[in-house]
Amino acid sequence: MESMLSLRSTKERPYKVIVAKLGLDGHDRGAKVIARALKDAGFEVVYTGIRQSSEQVARAAVEEDADVIGVSILSGAHIHHVKALIEKLRELGAEDIPVVVGGTIPVVDVEELKKMGVKEVFLPGESLKKIVDLVRRLAEEKRSTGVAKG
């Protein structure tokens, strides 16, 4: 019964996820595949497109009141952009929105991204199911803790 109820409430207000490409990087196939997989799993996906600045992504997440932000970066500039994004989110009082990163990220950078506050880093070859499941878990966590905070 409990699970049915939560399913119903999700149906009323699906989880909202921002999918964005940060920086000068036009390779959006991966981001589109992720966006589509999340849509098919019942998420509301706000796709912001390529060549977004960290300000734009943070602003979109705040305006949309997103549950999760997913950024795709294949340019190699992930450290710089993600750092800026997380700073911008903090400025806007939105540091509680979890950020996940995917793309061609060298394994040696994963720790550094996580230290900045990134919840998960998906490397090439990751299964869609695992990504969708993790995004759902992060969204659930955020909804259960973030409601009372103004």
Partner: protein
């Protein structure tokens, strides 16, 4: 503190922070308004009391006609004039998964440093007519927060898109060359509801012919038959190149002046709230019905083979549905 009171004070705080320009608070307030019947009455009333001044512009039309691009141009121009602009972009949700791909931001790249704009994407959540209850409540919120222009972009499903008229002061129907002949222009539905018609992509080869079809239909009084005292305007634009945007703005402002002069501006507010209240009441009832029907099978099984009692079950379920709607 009881849950209801806590929610009320949380939302009250959110609302006052949103009024002071806090974007994060605005985003959260809009989320709370996605189910407006759950908003505490004092907050709901204050939003309604503060709203009523914004000019609500509905933009509708077939997919790919260029609605989002036109809106990004309008936003830029209104910002230049110093007006605050909010955009509610509605996209369809999947009937299969309930998910949605909301892609209107893609063509509405906003200036992230400008505090005078706000874009919010909304999915239809399976509602017909494209204009969901959430969007309607958000119109009230943006209005209450002091936005001068609230632009509502609706799913371009074409001929079934008429709900938007009840929420918008000014309805702009966007079309483009190459999507049909004069018969298409005369068809019932979306082509009847415009106060202003935009032929976008007017740089395309077929544009002149399309323009002639449309102006012919307009002259014959076949388009925009909603208001007999307003003669619908036809504007040619090429939004990507920024052409015709100022013509569109003047047409929109002319329509606004017309509404204000005649007291119709306020009448539109009333009709928007009629739709809001109807949708809220319907949604509450639907929730009550869903709750009551969870007992349907048990009740009927008890009485199914008896000679009487089924009618009583029907009446009981209906009564329980009403009471569940009012006391969730």
């Amino acid at each position: 503190m009881p849950r209801g009171e806590r929610m009320s004070s949380d939302l009250r705080n959110l609302f006052s922070e949103a009024l002071s320009g806090n974007l994060r608070a605005m985003g959260r307030l809009l989320t709370a308004l996605e189910n407006p019947y759950e908003v505490p009455p004092d907050v709901f009333d204050e939003i309604m009391a503060r709203a009523g001044r914004a000019h609500v512009i509905g933009i509708t039309g077939i997919p790919g006609a260029g609605k989002s691009t036109i809106i990004s141009r309008l936003v830029r121009e209104y910002r230049r004039q110093g007006l605050r602009v909010a955009v509610i972009a509605i996209d369809p949700s999947s009937p299969l998964s309930g998910g949605a791909l909301l892609g209107d931001r893609l063509r509405m790249q906003e200036d992230a440093k400008d505090p005078g704009t706000f874009i919010r994407s909304v999915s239809t959540r399976g509602l017909k007519g494209g204009l969901s209850l959430a969007a309607l409540a958000m119109v009230e919120a943006f209005d209450a927060l002091g936005y001068d222009k609230v632009i509502v972009e609706t799913v371009g499903v074409g001929q079934a898109e008429v709900d938007v008229t009840s929420a918008a002061h000014t309805v702009v129907v966007v079309t483009m060359p190459g999507v049909g002949d004069e018969i298409q222009a005369l068809k019932a539905g979306v082509m009847e509801i415009g106060d202003i018609y935009v032929l976008n992509k007017s740089d395309l080869p077929d544009a002149q012919k399309a323009y002639e079809y449309l102006s012919f239909a307009l002259d014959k009084g076949e388009l925009g038959v909603q208001d007999s005292q307003w003669r619908p305007k036809l504007v040619r634009t090429s939004a990507v190149m920024g052409q015709g945007v100022s013509d569109l703005i003047s047409a929109v402002e002319e329509h606004r002046d017309y509404l204000l002069k005649d007291g119709k501006f306020t009448a539109k507010l009333t009709s928007r709230r009629i739709t809001l209240v109807r949708l809220m009441a319907e949604r509450l009832l639907a929730k009550g019905v869903e709750e009551a029907m969870s007992r349907l099978e048990d009740r009927v099984t008890e009485n199914a083979l008896k000679s009487k009692g089924l009618l009583g079950v029907v009446r009981d379920l209906a009564k329980e549905a009403c009471s569940a709607a009012l006391n969730p």
